[in-house]
């Protein structure tokens, strides 16, 4: 495969590659969970209305709830089973955790592995309008940049006249390997899904960005990539290249404005799982019933890459491990309870050995946080601002440009929780801006 040239970004850090346990493991179907709790509002907003009621028997893929409004999605039964009582489920997306109404499914059938399905719809000749209609009709969600319907994402990309569509398959965080396995094993479908999204959004350039350490696994995708007009780029896995803002900077040299999204500079960013789900729905008419999740970490019972139906509890996946349960990567993920359910935003569930807490020392101004900040913030100065309580200075210092990657906390030798402090400053600045109009600077 021929990989294109690329730039890089200031800051960032090469994290230890802790993927040996999972990177070579093929995707297998997860064990049958005792019950599923399928969230009815995985994107927030109004929950979907049930079309079936309590003791009904459902088969895998059958629609069980109808979207209530434009922002919601239909809900399909991930597995064969019996519908139980309405309940609630904790859902985690990039912006944090929330509680969604959910429906419980019990007496489950086995989890089927991903099988390649013959396409029933000729998406290549369908035209962008028809593709968009198909996407809008389906239960597709995307987690980038925040959890929402894929159709909304496509609309936003068209409204911003996106020139670039980037599929970000670089996973620079330790342990994460789900997108890598998906691309290695079902790469043709992923690339076709990417090309399809490209047609739907009207992007002129479509880029597949992969990890430069894993290019050997992607060689046989060359034909598909060339046929679909997808250019491929291998990036060194310097964290946080997985971040939207950073990969936009690396691949297009455009800088997302402070507090903005990648759409603001005409770039749409997606990932392998979204492309795969979109292809399966549009071309094969198979609704997304689950996703590939990396289960790893020092305390995980059985590390591996599993195809997990939506609504499975994270605690089931990790086993009864005595450790921290982390949803997403170790650098930017969230700690979750075992009852948190798997949604389209779940790329990894990690059980990490609980480390003893260490007392923070005073800042010695080594400057490593500033050196490694991918947003080029002077984090040491922001820490001073935090400690002195001078919030009004933090906006001028650029605190809203923080991409919340966590590198500053990672490198801090004094063990100060820098990224939490910066996030707190951000929250305060946003709060002040909303409440006191005088504080807001000119637009």
């Amino acid at each position: 495969m021929i990989f294109g040239r690329h730039g890089t970004f200031t800051g960032g850090i090469d994290l230890p590659d802790l993927k040996q346990a999972v990177v070579a493991r093929r995707i297998v179907a997860a064990d049958r969970p005792p019950r599923l709790r399928v969230p009815l509002a995985p994107c927030g907003g109004a929950p979907a209305r049930m079309v079936l009621s309590a003791p009904a028997h459902v088969s895998a893929g059958q629609k069980i709830a109808q979207a209530a409004d434009e922002s919601g999605v239909d809900v399909h039964a991930p597995l064969t089973g019996r519908i139980g009582e309405p309940t609630e489920a904790e859902v985690i997306c990039a912006r944090g955790a929330f509680i969604s109404p959910a429906i419980e499914i019990t007496e489950l059938g086995p989890v089927e592995p991903i099988v390649p399905t013959a396409p029933v719809f000729d998406w290549r000749t369908a035209g962008a309008e028809l593709l968009r209609e198909k996407i809008a009709a389906g239960p597709l969600t995307t987690a980038r940049p925040r959890m929402r319907r894929l159709a909304r994402w496509v609309e936003d990309a068209r409204r911003c006249d996106c020139r670039f569509l980037i599929a970000n398959v670089v996973e620079p965080q330790p342990h994460a390997a789900a997108d890598h396995r998906l691309l290695a094993e079902h790469g043709t479908e992923v690339i076709r899904g990417l090309a399809m999204l490209s047609m739907a959004t009207g992007a002129r350039e479509t880029i597949l960005a992969v990890d430069s350490r894993r290019t050997g696994s992607y060689r046989r995708l060359e034909v598909a990539a060339r046929a679909c007009g997808v250019s491929t780029v291998a990036l060194p896995p310097k964290y946080p290249v997985g971040n939207d803002t950073i990969i936009v900077k690396v691949l297009t040299r455009r800088e997302v404005p402070i507090g903005g999204e990648s759409f603001d500079v005409g770039v749409a960013v997606t990932d392998a799982a979204t492309c795969f789900a979109a292809y399966r729905w549009v071309a094969c008419e198979a609704p997304p019933l689950g996703r590939v999740v990396t289960v790893s970490g020092g305390a995980a019972a059985q590390p591996g890459n599993y195809y997990v139906p939506f609504g499975t509890e994270c605690g089931e996946l990790a086993g009864q491990a005595d450790g921290l349960l982390v949803h997403g990567g170790v650098m930017s993920g969230h700690m979750c309870s075992p009852a948190t359910v798997v949604t389209a935003a779940t790329d990894a569930v990690l059980a990490i050995a609980r480390e003893p807490a260490v007392a923070a020392a005073p800042c010695i101004r080594c400057g490593w946080c500033t050196d490694h900040c991918p947003a080029r913030l002077n984090v040491a100065a922001l820490n001073d601002i935090y400690e002195l309580g001078r919030v009004e200075r933090s906006e001028r210092a650029g605190v809203l440009a923080c991409v919340e990657c966590g590198v500053c906390t990672y490198v801090c030798p004094a063990r100060i929780l820098l990224s939490q402090r910066v996030k707190q400053l951000k929250r305060v600045v946003f709060g002040l801006r909303e409440r006191i109009p005088l504080f807001t600077t000119e637009r």
Binding site: T245, V326, M335, I352, A357, A359, R365, Y410, P413
Partner: protein, 415 residues
Amino acid sequence: MSVGPVETTEKRPAVREHYVAALESPFVRAPEEVRTVFLVTAGAASLPLAAGVVLFGWRAAIVAAISVVSCAVIERLYYWVTRSPALLGRSHAYLTGLLLALTLPASAPWYVPVVAAAFAIVVGKAVFGGVGHFLWQPALVGRLAAAVLFASSMNPDLWPVLGQDKLFWGDLREASAVADSGQWTGRGAPPGADAVLLRHPRSTLAGLTRTTEPRFSALAYTPDGDAVPGARTTAFRAMPPMSDLLIGARGGGIGETSVVIIVVAGLYLIYRNYVKWQLPVSILASAALVAAVAPVRFSGANDTVVRLWWPVLAEEGEVGFIYICYQLVSGGLVLAAFFLATEMTSRPVTTGGQVLFGIGCGALAMYLQLYVATPIPAYVAVLAMNTFTPGIEAIWRPRVLGRARFRRPGRTFPR
């Protein structure tokens, strides 16, 4: 999963923030800790100390031991008396004591390191609130106090260095003067003594710039009038060979003389990412630039004074490089560039700020060395620039990702 209390390895109770530490990303940490930083820096600083012990004998080791121990003891005493919590344990006190010892001459009497350590810890560090809060590099505060309080013993005319056959085991106090007090290489200790007394190369060079009446007729070559009896000698003829200065066989502080060892240890610090290469490079480069431009004085014909700008170009540029090297290595500038100006708390954080800081340090140090009669020009320059560190931090703001280049910040917020 229930979130129970987190056990701590330390005796101090974990405050609430550390409890939250486990609940928010990132969940992994880099292995480097503050203690590691200080101890590794101290390990690197012990390389110049070892060179000093070889060149100046066991008295250098005694001075260093007194300095380190009194720093640790005084810090402990201070926190015991004031009842304020000890910040960061002892590792930074060890480092401060070691750096202080590097700057002190080995012939100093025992009370000099004790008093200097007291100033370093109390005035330089504890008054400001401990590690992370002080404005001036504490070791240099102590060194400045020693230079002011013990001016005579800190700055003698002739400095002892062990003879080549008496290295390491010799007694520095058993020194005797020799006739040609410049060269060390190829000369053993005089009979009945362990050390030779050498003139400090800085005082030789000062004859070029600092005095109103110049002592030398030229930098390198003898002009035609040299054949005349009583004519003045050239400057380089009075200087020790460059190899002596590079290995450190000259007068000066214990650790500031051996340039080769300092550079090796400094490169290790750069490799460990404790020091950015830009800081020592900008210090040395700006010092070299000032030395290359700033005028020297020669005695011309009939006792007139010739002021020569751009000494780097003197005598068709053949001696300029050697002249600049002599100026750079004959004081404490190299030690200051790699170990003292790079003290993390008292230097700016951003790379550009460090370059500004380094340019100021180097230029000021070379100015003081050339024209002001101070025994510690490089250290005074670092202390002076430490004062401006907060100002440099305030004016040097790197452009944040996503902010427009040439517009006033604060007016460019999108949407």
